[in-house]
Symmetry: C2
Subunit: 154 residues, 2 copies
DNA sequence: CGGGATCCCAGAAGATACTG
DNA sequence: CAGTATCTTCTGGGATCCCG
């Protein structure tokens, strides 16, 4: 249970897999599987609230200390930064270097694997920038459509 | 503050605010803002529990009815499927076609924009498949390191 | 059949205090 | 400085009932 309890790996999904046992062997994501598919697994690594920011900032700076990151990622709490960094470190995306000094000094940096992921995220970013307009349009369109359908409050 | 309208209504309103507020001219993610950067915004669209599955299944089948999707995505509840589909529809990634019949018939399909996103997700999937081994290794390594540091129980 | 509206809970995230 | 521990709050999403 030591391996399982290290958390991070969405515990919610373990519940799910408890009750769902029918699994096909399709190429696509099959829910009910521990690691549904690699994508889902990887997405979970930066899909949370802070990981993406952490990765991007570490991508721009070779090294960053804990409080440097904390001040860059405005709004993050020390706890969440710790949790986020631990998760990234656990997956080998971020390297943590401790300098046994007083006061303590800890530096974080992307590993090669982390930089590799960063590249993918940047590609995704390109797509996002390219298509943000369309998405925003769609949202407005949807909002208006909703509006005239449920014109209760105005 | 919240005298009468608690619950999920406030949720919808918060999203409305997010939509109105369009900002961010920096290339990188600027935290502290509601919708940090396009990437974050896009990731939020498939980073949740069910959107990815929905997109992938819709990617494999040109059209799918509500209950077809529901049975394919094992574990999903009708509510979450509805919510997920609505969100995707709102962003213009999924098209919803209602046939005014009895009993009702509704078909869902990826829009061109949705298919475009699907391509990105598949690329991400490639990266994930390619690097999953490394990630798993890193996790084991981390688990062992943790183990000998806190070898208190078992 | 395809949802909408409610209720409710576990787990995620925030705030605060303490420590090596 | 860089955390850890603890408490509280918030929110995603599951279960259920109902409706056109």
């Amino acid at each position: 249970m030591s391996l399982l309890s290290i958390g991070r790996v969405t515990n919610a999904e373990r519940q799910m897999l408890m009750k769902e046992e029918k699994i096909n062997k399709d190429e696509t994501c099959q829910p009910g599987k521990e690691q549904l598919c690699p994508v889902k697994d990887i997405i979970a690594r930066f899909g949370d609230k802070w990981s993406l920011h952490t990765i991007l900032y570490l991508g721009q700076n070779q090294k960053l200390r804990f409080n440097e990151l904390k001040s860059m990622i405005s709004g993050i709490s020390q706890r969440m930064l710790t949790v986020t960094l631990r998760a990234l470190e656990e997956d080998g995306l971020v390297a943590r270097t401790v300098y046994p000094e007083i006061p303590p000094k800890v530096e974080y940096a992307l590993t090669p694997l982390g930089q590799s992921l960063l590249q993918q995220l940047l590609k995704l970013s390109d797509w996002a920038k390219l298509n943000r307009g369309k998405v925003l349009e769609a949202r407005e369109r949807y909002a208006r459509k909703e509006g005239h359908l449920t014109e209760k409050s105005t």
